[in-house]
């Protein structure tokens, strides 16, 4: 796992501001109240005023930290955030809300990590994301929690007419457990894409899926899961519910099995509640083909190098629709050799 200093350096080199760090349950230190973007401690009294009228998940935390990010109408911004735990056995509770107003465009880059000495920490999160009319929110998350971390986010997203929400979720380093099933509702013409690249290490228990409700006419949703199984237990329950006229949904899962142990369980659920909806799903789970390994061996690569190159290809293919900066981070993670 990366050291904090390296991580921060890594994540601060893409020229994005401002930079939010949520450490354990300590309050957000830096608040911003600019015309375009406001970033407030979730406990700031102004938050209640700003979120009046928004339907929020219940905050069940007693001790917690968190932020409100509010991007004003027509604004554009990129913000980096980082969740950090520094104490063993600590339970971090995060309550976050992001509001992207009409015609605004926000890219969020989130890294999650714990210090090397931290063991058995838990990260809980309750997150509400609101994407306004014709607005865009791209939420990029790269995990780097510890091997014994447990991560339980509850995320609810609402996208108004013509808005777009994209989630790029990457878990490459080992983590003990994740349970993440965001729920997304889409109004007329709105669009959501949930893409994930997950490495399921031996001893890990990962439950990573999601639900998209296509409420508005012409709305569309995609859930694309890519899994490299190294022996952990991976489960993905992905559900798309088509209610709106001419709405479209697609679920896809590709998994490559590198270990004899572990399991990959994929459950795609498509519910058509309107005769005009179009829905599909594809799934492919299997080990690396012998033909591909032998082909690369005939190019002089030994079996291990051949397998690594094929997995790298699988990863490249999985992330090709993700932003360049996320792809660069993934390439860096791969080059650190944590898996290869």
């Amino acid at each position: 796992m990366m050291q904090l200093e390296d991580f921060l350096e890594n994540y601060s080199n893409v020229g994005m501001n401002p930079y939010i760090v949520l450490n354990d349950n300590a309050p957000l230190l830096m608040e911003t109240t600019e015309k375009d973007v406001q970033i407030l401690n979730i406990k700031n009294k102004l938050v209640e005023k700003y979120l009046k009228g928004f339907k929020l998940q219940e905050n069940t935390f007693k001790d917690y930290t968190g932020y409100l990010i509010l991007l004003a109408k027509g604004s554009h911004s990129s913000i980096q955030t980082c969740f950090l735990t520094s104490k063993s056995g600590f339970e971090q509770n995060v309550r976050n809300v992001i509001v992207v107003e009409e015609d605004a465009n926000l890219d969020i880059f989130t890294g999650c990590l714990s210090n090397d000495h931290v063991k058995s920490n838990t990260h809980n999160a309750i997150t509400d994301l609101f994407v306004g009319k014709n607005a865009t929110l791209t939420f990029n998350m790269i995990h780097s929690w510890g091997k014994t971390s447990k991560v339980f986010p509850k995320t609810v997203v609402h996208v108004e007419e013509g808005g777009t929400f994209t989630s790029n979720y990457v878990v490459w380093d080992k983590v003990e457990e994740i349970r993440s099933n965001p729920k997304i509702t889409l109004d007329r013409g709105a669009k959501a894409v949930i893409q994930s690249l997950i490495c399921s290490h031996s001893g890990s228990k990962l439950d990573i899926g999601g639900k998209i409700s296509l409420l508005g006419s012409g709305s569309s949703g995609e859930i694309l899961s890519n899994v490299v199984s190294q022996g952990g237990k991976y489960k993905s329950m992905s559900e798309i519910v088509g209610k709106g006229e001419n709405s479209r949904g697609h679920i896809e899962c590709d998994a490559v099995l590198l270990s004899k142990s572990g399991s990959v369980e994929v459950v795609p659920v498509l519910k058509a509640k309107n005769s005009t909806v179009q829905m599909s799903h594809e799934a492919s789970i299997g080990k690396i083909s012998k033909e591909e390994i032998e082909y690369l061996q005939s190019k002089g690569l030994d079996e291990k190098k051949a397998q690594d190159l094929i997995v790298k290809g699988f990863v490249n293919n999985s992330v090709k629709k993700m932003p360049e900066s996320v792809i660069e981070k993934i390439e860096e993670m791969l080059s650190h050799g944590s898996m290869f």
Binding site: E291, E292, E294, Y295, L296, Q297, S298, K299, G300, L301, D302, E303, K305, L309, I310, K312, G313, F314, V315, N316, N317, S318, K320
Partner: protein
């Protein structure tokens, strides 16, 4: 020098190669004729150590040493370069990713890239959506990235390839294989027009039944088909 001695290979109890004997000297250019399914491609895959075939008898030697216990890549290290009849496409693996494995810089191989006209394939998935001729050009390029290859095994280099590509491939091969041994399989014979071979062998039902002058054998096959070879083989027996 590559030597194949009394090689017999079985799949599920059935002989697919039987008592093959072949000796290709250093620098020799040999062509292996035979109808589809006669065992030409299998012979190459067995030489390469692919598909975990059950070798029930015989041996394959490079410069007098058996290679049967060697892995595929170890056989490549010993000097065997192979191009299969059909290139394998691997999702997400680009030609330039493969080049990185050899730590080869673009400038070092620019001439080969231009000569084979494969510049546009570098950032595409290997062999993905390529025509027959394009695949062969790409495969010849990957072969050129390997060091110390002394013997080329080229399976159906001319099949599914248009005339323009045959010409290009033949010229490239002439220039790059001067001092190398070469075994080419073909059932169309197109490459023989452009490329002079030293020896020829005919394979039928997993056996080598004839050897001789490449042009004479090819003319014979052209005039009477492989049926003529079958009858000739019967007469010999």
């Amino acid at each position: 020098m590559i030597t194949i001695k009394n090689l017999t290979v079985e799949v599920e109890g059935k002989k697919i190669l039987e008592d093959i004997n072949l000796k290709i000297k250093n620098g020799e250019k040999a062509v292996l004729f035979g109808p589809n399914g006669c065992g030409k491609s299998t012979l190459f895959r067995v030489i390469m150590g692919m598909n975990s075939y059950n070798i029930v008898k015989g041996d394959i030697l490079i410069d007098g040493k058996s290679i049967l216990k060697k892995t595929i890549n170890q056989r490549v290290d010993l000097g065997i370069g192979y191009i299969a009849q059909k290139g394998v496409s691997i999702k997400g693996v680009k030609l330039e990713d493969l080049m990185e494995q050899y730590e080869i810089e673009y400038d070092d191989v620019k001439k080969k890239i231009d000569s084979l006209g494969i510049e546009e394939f570098l950032d595409r998935d290997i062999n993905y959506n390529l025509s027959g001729g394009e695949t062969k050009r790409l495969e010849l390029f990957t072969l050129s990235l390997l060091k110390n290859i002394s013997t080329y095994l080229l399976d159906e280099l001319d099949s599914g390839v248009d005339l323009e590509n045959i010409d290009r491939i033949s010229k490239y091969l002439k220039n790059t294989s001067k001092k190398k041994s070469l075994i080419i399989t073909t059932h169309t014979g197109s490459i023989l027009k452009e490329f002079k071979m030293d020896s020829a062998y005919v394979m039928l039902n997993g056996k080598i039944v004839c050897e001789g002058n490449p042009i004479e054998i090819w003319e014979c096959i052209k005039s009477g088909g492989y049926e003529k070879c079958v009858n000739c083989d019967r007469r010999k027996k």
